[in-house]
Amino acid sequence: MTIDVETARHISTLARLKIPEDQLPSVANDLSKILAWVGMLDELDVTGIEPLANVNDGHLGWREQDVVTDGGQAQAVLANAPSQKADFFTVPKVVE
């Protein structure tokens, strides 16, 4: 599988990560190389093998008591906000 410049641009849009136009060819080239390398997995037949997501095959316990134990810390939550107003995060306007 080869990634061309057009695909690299598309992935960067999906990832919401701006890549300067002049860097797209080298990004596409790196990704192509990595994809060719991971293509090694095609040698394996994995039919019927269950995917492994959690090594401990953990079953999450039920929350016996679902009670609020934390909260009311607006200032702490906002402490690192790049922009805020009256206990809210602020972002560029999205409606006209």
């Binding site: 991971v38 995917p51 090594v55």
Partner: protein, 494 residues
Amino acid sequence: MSDLTDLTMVEAKALMDKKELSPIELTERYIKAAERGQKATNAFVTPTFDRAIDAAKASQARYDAGQAGPMDGLPIAMKDLYCTKGVRTTACSKILANYVPQYESTVSQNLADAGAITLGKVALDEFAMGSSTTTSAFDPVVSPWTGREPEKAERKLVPGGSSGGSSAAVCGRFAMGATGTDTGGSIRQPAAITGIVGIKPTYGRCSRYGIIAYASSLDQAGAMARTVGDAALMLRTMAGYDPKDSTSVNVPVPDYMAALGQSVKGMKIGIPREYRIDGLPEEIAKIWDNGAQMLRDAGAETVDISLPHTKYALPTYYIIAPAEASSNLARYDGVRFGLRVEGESLADMYDNTRGEGFGVEVRRRILMGTYVLSAGYYDAYYRKAQRVRRLIRNDFLKAFEQCDTILTPPSPSTAFAIGENEDDPIKMYLEDVFTVTLNLAGLPGIVVPMQLCANGLPMGLQLIGKPFDETTLFKTASALESAAGFNGKPPFVG
């Protein structure tokens, strides 16, 4: 008396218990060492020496009151991936350069509760993605080690990565121990190439709460120290179930110190034939053979084992880890914390913030992860990699029917120079060929320093354990440590 920095944590603790050493004296000596160490290596991103002095005074008060904790007064370094309340935590990324957490990670809290004193936050590869600490957005860390060959002595070497600030601080003796995190080898590879001990416990042994996430199904906290005993003391303090991390496992944490020095007689040590890869340097193969002989001399038996899917581990990792990273790192959007770079619209603001905030390697992994999770490729890459992951874990579970622990090399090379291996991303990825298998399988692994190679640089060996059987690892590691008698010291020490 010899220099205070020659003491192990276990020795220093015993002296403080006997009131023959004060935590203030020890901390002041280490701050002096750290100041010198910082000039030579850049290991610290954010030193916190004033806080360390205050903590040492509080520790002294606990000793005076007879209420000292298990790590009371021992100065350590904290990888800058652990959130520390009120102390800047950067993950060595431009996107978090000014981030000051409002809460504390569980593991760093456990260490503080036991009385450990943090000297500061130490460097890593950006978001723990790398094997050299050169992907950090800040100055690269220079290893305290220099090669014996003249041309190597002039070049600055890497301390490994991603926990390279930790390995530099510990081998350079300007911290007694350090926290690390290990997603594909980030504790064990730096430990191996700087001549220290590093343990990555079983997935679920330590809480991940408050540790900045890279790949959540692989990330695990662990300890780096100069001796097996110190690593045992530290891990015992760090580990434990935490309701705040649903993947932390609710099982008791044994007293690892009790395993030290116990006989390995009758134990079966697996030697996986697939780890004898093409191009493995002769010298590293020899260290491996010697280590096996040391364990046989101590009464253990070595068994030839097979882990047939070994060669598929790195490609599997480089699908799963980027996929999880692309999802985890979606949170850096310029809204709630971290860097914001303005744009004409909300979408522009996201694009600009992330485009400027992430370094080249992080960007590469986010894009790779986005691709393998995107419509049409999910099954071919991500799902497939998860299936291969199970085959890799099954290899280990089967091998453990024949042996108690597995002995392998930890790294295919000794320390390389800053800037080396950077022309091709895959070259750097190969650094983790012997370590990454454990993260995929969720198993514990420990690296023990063995000897200096002909080039004057250290190399260790790795032991792999059954799930939650760190005790056997500490026992076997301590036997290897005694037999190897490694006492290499880098040319620079604090």
